[in-house]
């Protein structure tokens, strides 16, 4: 059987996303993406020592990175400049010459505990391939080849949104193009999709999950349902955030079996009843997890979403709905310190509000809608519970806007559903291209000018 031919518009779109991804790869200085230093150290530990980072085996804090990585971080100015807008990476030519002339530091004396140590190794095994392929080069050859391989995952993410729109809306190429472009060209997606981070793999896993859920419920093939289950397990091996896929998987499984047994599709009333039941159950679990702290949970949520209260938990920013969810998902680069002026976020907020206002009335309570809603709600609830726990026990905030990006395919699908006019589609595509350029410009200005 011949493999299906890739549609021409998708090819061109992937070309555009690849251009943007490669530009991000080289524009962002070494390790200047969230926790990229820890993720690189994890890959190096796997490749050089054949194991995951571990506190037990290398308890010294200094051992979280190899001498090679530590030396390169110092020489390149990463250590003195990350998260600090007032400091820049190394710009002068002499330190780079000196670093290149010096003997290479040891690669295998790291392996201690680091910020990524609790993650399962699915992504890191993938990233170890380019690491090993460039093992004859210096640390930057390996880092940048790993980033380039992340761009391949970004292309899969883009294709997943294309496929999702095709599965839900039918063969509507302009709508599919818009959905794929939103997934691949929203700058935060491109930024993370071109860095060394498990998020680069998490995004396509979630995109493919939504597509397979739609296929499983639409075509009722065992192959799709089994792939969906396997993808859920794989997602958990990429990042624990994928535990949020489990409620959706259970729902899809039940609906799938129901339909396979020859019963009619779930009626809207049943779908609503089912989803409300699951939501209530989820809320009860949430309160139980926050055991003994339901009041704190309520106060935390109020402070997170209300612009009126910024006092209860000092660890939270002034208005997390804006500062974390909106700004962090629309554009917060580097270690989140590189941001646009506020009117840009205001424009994004207006566009998102308009999208919700137009899309929500069209939403029908189908089994598929519930399958999409459950992982989304579980992800958001999990993030809040995790953050509340960290605030209460360690006094620090946790949630970042980028953690919402796995839901981007649903936003893309919603946009592709409601934006039908040619001029609007063209305008949005042009807007994405301009937004990419502006994002790369502020990153270039922050780090290099």
């Amino acid at each position: 059987m011949r493999p299906p031919r890739m549609p021409a518009p998708l090819k061109w779109l992937l070309g555009a996303v690849a251009v943007a991804g490669i530009a991000w790869v080289f524009t962002v200085p070494p390790w200047q993406a969230p926790d990229e230093d820890a993720h690189f150290a994890y890959v190096q530990t796997l490749a050089e020592l054949g194991r995951r980072p571990s506190q037990k085996l290398r308890p010294a804090v200094e051992a979280q990175k190899s001498t090679e990585q530590d030396g390169a971080e110092r020489a390149s100015g990463f250590l003195r400049s990350y998260q600090r807008l007032e400091a820049q990476p190394e710009w002068a030519a002499r330190p780079e010459r000196a670093w290149r002339a010096a003997p290479e530091g040891s690669r295998d004396d790291g392996g201690g505990a680091n910020a990524a140590e609790h993650y399962l190794p699915a992504y890191y095994l993938y990233a170890a391939v380019p690491y090993l392929a460039a093992s004859g080069g210096d640390v930057f050859d390996r880092l940048y080849l790993m980033r380039l391989c992340s761009v391949l995952l970004l292309l899969v993410f883009t294709a997943s949104a294309w496929l999702l729109a095709g599965e839900v809306l039918g063969r509507d190429r302009p709508a599919q193009l818009l959905a794929g472009a939103i997934a691949g060209l929203v700058p935060m997606s491109t930024f993370l999709g071109s860095a060394v981070t498990p998020d680069a793999m998490l995004l396509p896993v979630w995109g493919l999950w939504f597509w397979l859920a739609a296929r499983a419920l639409g075509r009722l093939q065992w192959r799709d349902a089994l792939l969906l289950a396997a993808l859920t397990v794989f997602g958990i091996c990429v990042k624990p955030a994928s535990f949020a896929l489990l409620p959706g998987l259970v729902w899809v499984g039940v609906a799938f079996m129901w339909r396979r047994a020859g019963r009619a599709p779930l009626r809207p009333r049943m779908a609503i009843g089912g989803s409300v039941g699951v939501l209530v159950l989820g809320a009860l679990v949430a309160v139980a997890v926050a055991a003994g702290t339901p009041r704190q949970l309520a106060a935390y949520l109020w402070q997170f979403y209300s612009p009126l209260d910024s006092s209860g938990y000092p660890a939270l920013p002034q208005w997390p709905l804006r500062d974390v969810w909106l700004e962090g998902s629309a554009g917060a680069f580097g270690w989140l310190e590189v941001r646009f002026p506020w009117p840009v976020y205001a424009l994004v907020a207006v566009l998102l509000t308009a999208l919700v206002a137009v899309a929500l009335p069209r939403l029908r309570p189908t089994g598929l809608a519930v399958a999409f809603a459950l992982p989304a709600l579980a992800l958001i609830a999990g993030l809040h519970l995790n953050e509340l726990d960290m605030i209460l026990n360690q006094g620090k905030a946790f949630t970042q806007g980028r953690y919402l990006l796995p839901l981007l395919p649903l936003v893309a699908l919603a946009a592709a559903t409601v934006v039908r006019r040619a001029a609007l589609i063209g305008g949005l595509l042009g807007g994405l291209a301009a937004w990419q350029l502006a994002s790369l410009a502020i990153v270039m200005a922050r780090f290099h000018a």
């Binding site: 080289f26 524009t27 200085p29 998260q83 190394e90 002068a92 302009p174 595509l429 410009a441 270039m444």
Partner: protein, 214 residues
């Protein structure tokens, strides 16, 4: 056909407007700061009694500058006069500045590419503290008392330069600590690809999508 034209025209208009806005922003974005070392200035790096001097050695100069800024504290009294030397250049700060203030010395032009020592002398009759931070230290270690802070210095241009004028320099700097084959040329090509190639690819994709759907 009409669909294709309308979509591509809208795409083109938005991209052109976006690029023009960016060019305007880059032309208006004046940058006074040449570069910095030892920031943020969060801890006392040196306390100078009258006649004392503190230095920071081995500063690579990646961009020409003419002024140096320091963060000072003068213990609830007006600050003493200071002399600042940057390599062979020299400037002064008049006494009488407020406690906990940032002061500036005009030292005259210091060319890019040099490796210099910056020293600050207390020429007054009262003590003054200069702030800085430990070198090569991640943010979570800035307060670590085992790490000694070095002087924090901000080097400023004589006249601000716009972001647009700084682009060649920015591309030069962006090629540092990358794979050895990456150079400033890489970023000029990427700029062309993102500014023109990306919208062109999207336009072709849109045209192809409309044809494929009809």
């Amino acid at each position: 056909m009409r669909k294709t034209t309308a979509g591509i025209a809208a795409l083109g208009v938005v991209v052109v407007l976006g690029v023009l806005s960016l060019l305007a922003a880059a032309a208006l974005d004046d940058r006074e700061r040449a570069f910095t070392v030892g920031l943020p200035a969060v801890r006392i790096a040196a306390e100078l009694q009258p006649g004392d001097r503190a230095c920071r050695t081995g500063i690579d100069v990646p961009a020409e500058f003419a002024r140096v800024r320091l963060v000072t504290a003068s213990f609830r009294r007006p600050g003493p006069a200071l002399t600042v030397t940057a390599g062979a250049a020299r400037g002064t700060v008049a006494g009488g500045y407020p406690d906990n203030s940032t002061v500036e010395a005009r030292v005259g032009p210091v060319a890019e590419g040099k490796r210099i020592t910056v020293c600050v002398s207390n020429d007054g009759e009262r003590r003054v503290a200069l702030f800085g931070s430990p070198p090569d230290t991640p943010p979570y270690e800035l307060g670590n008392s085992n790490l000694g802070p070095a002087l924090g210095l901000e080097f400023l241009r004589d006249k601000p330069r716009s972001m647009a004028a700084l682009m060649p320099d920015a591309f030069e700097r962006a090629s540092r600590f990358r794979p050895a084959w990456v150079g400033p040329w890489t970023f000029w090509i990427l700029l062309g690809l993102v500014a023109a190639g990306l919208p062109a690819l999207l336009a072709v994709a849109y045209r192809s999508a409309v044809i494929d759907s009809s």
